[in-house]
Symmetry: C2
DNA sequence: CTACATGCAAATCCTTTGCATCCAC
DNA sequence: GTGGATGCAAAGGATTTGCATGTAG
């Protein structure tokens, strides 16, 4: 696996940039890379705890802000409890969130390329769509809604 | 103007559906329709106050939840202080939010039609993109960033 | 009349901040 | 050694909830 490589390369690159590599920073980054998934501050804290690491919430927030600033992670509001963070990797993807059942599925990034081009060309806007959440009805709930007319449209 | 008509038609339709039309519900809906803009809970409360109406925050939240449930308004997180609400009208539009200066410009809804079709066809997902916020760099900040290398990438 | 909405206050929960201490460089 | 990061505690701000009361249907 190249996971470890990615991690160390990243650390080296950051050091080169003159960034301070503290213990919390390395740990949080490691958690995010290993998971590869979108995590809330709480998730990160829980994972660390399970590994025997106790880390203050405020520290995690600050580390995440830093990671975002140096461009390693993206921040998104999936409409859930809290904001989620995830590493910006090559396999960039987005999410389809079902308004009815809450299920979340992945959306390939390339689907957005058309939109990006339009925004650049027609709006003079340089989009940074690192992590998008699109709400709607998933296949199953879509089927249900045909019969049940209108059901739980509550969520988000 | 058909504003008033829209308002009364809506009330009639809701009554027909068996929804309870209380004073707060009518007032909040009126504010949103008259504004036509995206408002936070605080905005709604302020507008009401300026009209001499005192309304509890909790009530406004509950009314907004209800309005969302009956499909009259949409809810979006523009990355600001709080969530914004707005009536779902025919002139549906979205927002381009600049990560650097925070400026917000409009995006015509039709730009998203291609994406909608793709989602329906390839993902079996029925999107409800009522109000989308896309982050990135506006024309001006885009120009600046060419010279200044990297500036305030902080926001959201 | 009765179910449901409102008002009030208190609670929750996510996120930020002040400040003394600590540590990476 | 020193500026910046951390830990702790406390504040801040948006949103929710419990409960008694009011009111639309």
């Amino acid at each position: 696996m190249q996971e470890a490589d990615t991690f160390h390369e990243t650390l080296t690159r950051l050091r080169g940039k003159g960034e301070r590599l503290t213990y919390p920073r390395r740990k949080v980054l490691e958690v995010l890379i290993r998971s590869g998934d979108h995590l809330t501050v709480n998730d990160v804290q829980r994972v660390l705890q399970q590994a025997g690491e106790v880390m203050d919430t405020a520290t995690i927030y600050r580390v995440l802000q830093w990671l975002k600033q140096v461009g390693l992670i993206s921040q998104t509001d999936l409409g859930g409890e809290a904001i989620v963070y995830q590493v910006i990797d090559d396999h960039r993807h987005h999410h389809l969130v079902c308004l009815s059942c809450g299920s979340i599925s992945e959306l390939d990034d390339r689907v957005l390329d058309v939109l990006r081009r339009t925004l650049r060309r027609n709006y003079d806007f340089e989009p940074r769509i690192d992590h998008l959440a699109i709400f709607g009805l998933c296949r199953e709930c879509r089927a249900k809604s045909h019969t049940t007319a209108r059901a739980g449209m509550t969520h988000e």
